[in-house]
Amino acid sequence: VSSPDVSPVLFVVGASHQTTPIELRERLALTPEKLAQLHDAASRLAGLRELAVVSTCNRVELYGVATDANAVAALEQEFCRLSGLDPATFATIRRLADGSDAIRHLVAVASGLESQMLGENEIFGQVKSAYEGAQQRRSVGPVLNRVFQKAFQSAKHVRTQTAITVGQVSVANVAVELAGTIFGDLSATRVMLLGAGDISEKTARAFQSRGAGSLTVASRTLARALELATEFGAVALPFEQVGQRLHEFDILVCSTAAPHAVITHGAVATALRRRPAHPLFFIDLALPRDVEPDVATLENAFVYNLDDLARIAERNRAAREAEVARALVLVGERADSIWRQVAPQASGRLEPR
């Protein structure tokens, strides 16, 4: 802090995906045990008045109020000790901000503006959980309480007043959103996962989170299909039965490693004749493709491959990015307003270190 007799300083110190490679982030991530140890150590630090720790797979950030810069440096030391990271290395990746800049950063993080996937929703809940955890530990006081609560209101305002959250930007979520434009409510849809790889798993998770009616897994390796089916509370189907039972499903997520198409025009035409009023949606995530291209010529069959989904995701991401400037203006206005409210209690600044 500039001088010992000035007001306490509000600060944030941490590292995120923007500056830190994944190998280092793995080491920085705080397990519940390490988080408890950090809070324990912080409670013994002279000069540290308040602390809240946001720890996700993409960022670890320590928000606090300290009476002097030494307390902040000591907290950093404790953090590095617990993470097993050399303080000199940490100094190259860390982000340090104080006062209104720290508030601006918190609002931007909670809004999803600092996320790897711009505008994603999950971060808001993660920051909220971090604050609730700090409340339970009684490590937050009048400054951080006000800053976090106002930051949540501001983040909601930013998210609703701009289009940074509009349109899905991951392939799995784009696929689910597309299914919505075909079937509307997904609660009555039957989804089949053809192939049991990672991408199938992610897509299945996305469908499950949107309340898809039922999941069935078919894979050349029945054991793998059973494993994935057990994980999702789904049904496993022998691969050989897929063709005959195609008409029973609404959505097919295909991601096999087969060297040729496994869903043929003839099989789909037969299936559609058995369910004339109901469309069939194919999400072909395989390379080479699992669905014959001419399946798309059938009137009630909608085929989207990896490129199509990636193109939609990219378009959505570009649309979100176009909103960033507007969102940042809102973040700035809100952060300034919060700062005016807490400045009387924490107007100190950190000296450049």
Partner: protein, 180 residues
């Protein structure tokens, strides 16, 4: 709320009512009921044609992978199909009821109704009924059904000019005492 308020306002000012109401149906309640049902069914078929246009747009957007812009506001294709199906059933039932009510009057006074009108209206109802039957049997679906519904409504609108009575509908004095 606004329409209710405007209705109340209009009803509360008697001076706004027409002084000499033109009684096109000769005061016969059954004919009025017949005409009202027929008009209502045409309204339903109008909505059906709009739904069919939306269905075709949604189908185009999904097939051509154009889902942003205006297309983003369209309902899902399954929902549009379901709405269209319900409207088709409603329209066919309403027009059938209207025709039955009209037919009961026509049987008492065959000369009073334009035969071209009967033939055209019955044909339109039949065409919609056939489309519904084929839809229920899974023989007419999706884009083809949507196009048929749009064409049928265009024909129905064009045929309205033919639907005029041959001579003025008799007033209550000449209406038989045992009305249907």
């Amino acid at each position: 709320m606004l329409s209710a308020a405007l209705t109340l306002l209009s009803l509360s000012v008697p001076a706004w009512d027409a002084e000499h109401r033109i009684n096109v149906f000769g005061g016969n309640a059954w004919i009025e009921f017949h005409a009202a049902l027929a008009l209502f069914s045409y309204g339903v078929f109008g909505l059906l044609s709009l739904t069919s246009i939306l269905f075709l747009l949604r189908h185009f957007s999904l097939k051509n992978k154009r889902l942003d812009g205006t297309f983003a506001f369209l309902p899902s294709i399954v929902d549009l199909d379901l709405i269209g199906h319900r409207l088709l059933i409603t329209g066919v039932v309403l027009l059938a009821t209207s025709l039955l009510v009209g037919a009961s009057w026509w049987m008492r006074d065959p000369g009073g109704v334009n035969p071209v009108k009967i033939a055209v209206t019955a044909s339109i109802w039949l065409a919609y009924a056939v489309a519904l039957t084929l839809r229920l049997r899974g023989r007419l679906q999706g884009k083809r059904l949507a196009k048929v519904c749009i064409v049928l409504f265009a024909v129905a609108l064009l045929s309205l000019s033919l639907i005029t009575p041959r001579r003025p509908v008799p007033g209550p004095a000449s209406v038989p005492s045992h009305q249907p």
